[in-house]
Symmetry: none
Subunit: 111 residues, 2 copies
Amino acid sequence: MIGQRIKKLRERKGYSITELASLAEVSKSYLSYIERNLQNNPSLQFLTKVAGPLDTTIEYLLGNNDSEEKLDKEWRILIQNGIEEGMSKEDFRNFKDFVRFQKWKRNKEEG
Amino acid sequence: MIGQRIKKLRERKGYSITELASLAEVSKSYLSYIERNLQNNPSLQFLTKVAGPLDTTIEYLLGNNDSEEKLDKEWRILIQNGIEEGMSKEDFRNFKDFVRFQKWKRNKEEG
DNA sequence: CCCTGTTGTTCTATATAATGAACTTCAATT
DNA sequence: AATTGAAGTTCATTATATAGAACAACAGGG
């Protein structure tokens, strides 16, 4: 979660919540909430403000930079084979959209 | 600015504001504001919701484009999104077989 | 021409992000 | 022991992000 990452970076740099809040020009109360995940939907502006003094980027704070490891082995083999057999990204996109459409339609019909 | 990027991706995929809003489960009014930069401080939740149907990531929406190894990355994002949207390996296998069949058929017709 | 359903927009209302002050501990002075 | 200040938390309030409804402009069909 994003709160832990902020807290970790903050402590690594030796800042207190109060200090970081002051440097980033956000309120320490809100920063406290975020670190403890009592609130977990910060805005872009908040994140950029905080990322600065922590010498990091929003991307890192989001922590989504390891997508390559998320795909399991079986999936990789499947995709690899698909590509070798001539499947294009466009093909796949269309199929994916179709799956989503089916799902969306189902949900809609169920209310 | 983030609004333009969302709009561009949306139009590339042929979605209307209404459609994308529905797929992403956000309000079309707010989406409209964002695209026109009448509001420009969306939350994390909003961005993740919108990134999904656009087959992209928050990082891209933010415009920090260090797109090395973009091809593989793009594939990974596609698959990742597909999985999160409930596509099963079985689904994918069927689709892959179908693509192969199409290709085979085309070759056959051309002699 | 009139529907019916889209498009995207602008209202108004509500939920909640974000703030600042008050508060509690605790450590370090004196 | 009394005091000072900094720590992080919680309260009460304000600002604003987001939603939902109503709107106008337009497209195609009957």
